[in-house]
């Protein structure tokens, strides 16, 4: 075993830390390391939360105010790294996580490995990266770089609250930055039903729907299956649905019992966000669409015909 000391960025989320942060703390613990969590803008309960997943120490930067946190967090972590050299810093693959990783990488003059979906403890820490739509896995490592910086995708590991201790909390004075961007206001988009990342069933739509109004079919099917509606990047970019619906590389990672892909061809960008689903149903006009290669059940057909028929059948059963 080569890993003995790992740091994990525990990204705050409405009084808690994100699920991905908990997954990373759990995995760091499973790798046999002493785990330090680093957080900011969190509440008083976080030392207990990160402790329960296996962190023995929590560095808390406190409230950073209404700014994008990357610059200040990276500055502060860089200064903490002057006193101690962990084997690696594990960072959740979120918008802020990616920004922090980029800043920290440049500050430390050390490369960063992103889109990590697995870690292996060999002679040095090695990371797994899915490529080509997840058909292949690249195993990578950093040369002569301590600490290694790894940006890890959501749901790569399970979050298991096996520790019972409260992490030892130490307040850290944030190292300020002149490079900050200020958040003027936050806007929340309404959504009903189960959260996309937690839903047992996800029904997603793509370009094959034809037009924005047909997304209502996806929402209706999701509702009938007690699921959440999702989307490919193509239709988010086209403005049909908000970004919060996006499944894929730059969106959410989902691992439902059932994933229904409606009019989605299966670009790499999309597949890496949903290929962990236990069952995949695909409906697509193109018999050669890549999505069929990872589907348990495929219907080659027009979603405009299949979805209304399916919705009628499900309503008749209700």
């Amino acid at each position: 075993m080569s890993v003995s000391n790992l740091w994990v960025l525990a990204e705050p989320a409405r009084g808690d830390v994100t699920t991905t942060s908990k997954e990373l703390i759990s995995e760091a613990r499973r790798l046999g390391a002493t785990v330090t969590a680093i957080t900011w803008g969190a509440n008083d309960d976080v030392a207990r939360v990160v402790g329960s997943y296996g962190a023995s120490r929590l560095w808390d930067l406190g409230d950073l105010g209404a700014i994008l946190p990357a610059s200040v967090v990276a500055n502060t972590v860089a200064s903490l790294l002057e006193g101690e050299t962990p084997d690696a810093v594990l960072i959740p693959a979120s918008n802020d996580g990616r920004d922090i990783a980029g800043r920290l990488s440049a500050r430390l003059d050390t490369p960063v490995l992103t889109n990590v979906t697995g870690l292996r403890d060999g002679a040095t820490l090695e990371s797994e990266h899915p490529i080509f739509g997840g058909t292949h896995t690249v195993l990578a490592r950093l040369r002569d770089s301590a600490p290694g910086l790894f940006v890890v995708r959501a749901k790569s590991f399970s979050a298991t609250p096996d520790g019972v201790d409260v992490a030892l909390r130490e307040s850290v004075t944030p190292v300020t930055s002149s490079r900050t961007a200020t958040i003027r206001s936050s806007h929340v988009e309404e959504r009903n039903g189960p959260a996309l990342e937690d839903a047992k069933v996800v029904v997603s739509g793509g370009r094959g729907l034809g037009d924005a109004s047909s997304y209502a079919l996806v929402e209706e099917l999701a509702r009938l299956l007690d699921g959440a509606p999702g989307a490919s990047r193509a239709i988010v970019d086209a403005g049909w649905v908000p970004y919060s619906h996006q499944v894929g590389q730059t969106g959410k990672t989902v691992k439902p019992d059932l994933y229904v892909a409606c009019g989605i061809s299966g670009a790499t960008q999309h597949m890496v966000g949903m290929k962990g689903a236990a069952n995949v149903i695909a409906i697509n006009k193109d018999p050669d669409a890549p999505i069929f290669a990872i589907s348990d059940f495929g219907v080659v057909g027009d979603v405009q015909r299949v979805l209304p028929a399916l919705i009628e059948l499900l309503k008749a059963r209700a």
Partner: protein, 260 residues
């Protein structure tokens, strides 16, 4: 205002990708402009047009044997391009790329640096922020709209729940998502004009960069076939597609079995 847009020529995403002997993406075939970059070019053109002065220029790193992709961004309206092309940079990681682009951009710092949130071939997604750190600038990332108001840049930044309105003083680095604007098509006039615009090609030495600081420090240990399940059943819809799906949903116990 002057805006620099980071652009990249990538293997055609429509073609089947492959790896070379060193486990790197094979880039030996025809390269095209990353479509993700066209949004940044469009945003840049609109900001410069609205400001009434200045120009859009492009920076890129990669093989400059064929710069057709770069020319297509010039045809949209960018006025000049700088491409750093050097065998020393083969296999460069994102930080190395950021150092190279920072060396180009810092020769004449613009009001704004624009980039896509990530390239469509490598997906690393850290370069723009590494660039911002090296240039000492704020970074406003994942922008779905970009405006300039009296010396500040204001963006809508995608969040898990919606978006934040974020502001920073110029100069700054902004990354835009695809779909932020509709990229214009190059006109015949634009295509003709692009032929005469300068594409400056530089080496690492031209930039005065220390080659030893650019050695790749990440390496691929191996490439494995991922454990993926085989494709399951597939039916051409003959009007029974929906019923077949219902039967499948019963089989996997998402739906309770029908009484009949």
């Amino acid at each position: 205002m002057n805006v620099v847009v980071c652009v990249k020529q990538i293997p055609d995403p429509a073609a089947t990708p492959s790896l070379d002997a060193e486990h790197r993406l094979d880039r030996s075939g025809k390269l095209i402009l990353d479509e993700a970059d066209t949004y940044g070019v469009e945003v840049a053109l609109r900001l410069v047009e609205a400001s009434g002065d200045g120009e859009v220029s492009l920076v890129s790193m990669g093989d400059a044997t064929d710069v057709t992709g770069i020319r297509s961004a010039l045809a949209m309206g960018a006025m000049r391009a700088t491409v750093v092309s050097d065998p020393l940079l083969k296999g460069a990681d994102a930080l190395t790329t950021a150092k190279v682009l920072a060396a180009v951009i810092s020769r004449d710092v613009p009001d704004l640096v624009l980039a896509a949130t990530e390239s469509s071939d490598g997906y690393t997604g850290t370069l723009p922020v590494q660039l911002a750190e090296l240039l000492g600038l704020p970074a406003l990332t994942f922008a779905t709209s970009v405006a300039v108001e009296s010396g500040d840049v204001v963006v809508h930044r995608q969040t898990e729940l919606g978006y934040d309105e974020v502001v920073a003083a110029l100069p700054a680095v902004v990354t835009v998502t695809a779909g932020v604007v509709e990229p214009r098509y190059a006109t015949f006039k634009g295509i003709m004009a692009a032929k005469s615009r300068t594409v400056e090609v530089l080496s690492v030495a031209d930039l005065g960069l220390d080659a030893s600081a650019l050695v790749p420090r990440q390496e691929v240990v191996s490439v494995e076939l991922a454990a993926t399940k085989n494709a399951g059943e597939k039916y051409v819809d003959d009007g029974e597609g929906a019923a077949r799906i219902v039967a499948f949903l019963e089989r996997i116990k998402i739906l309770a079995g029908s009484a009949s």
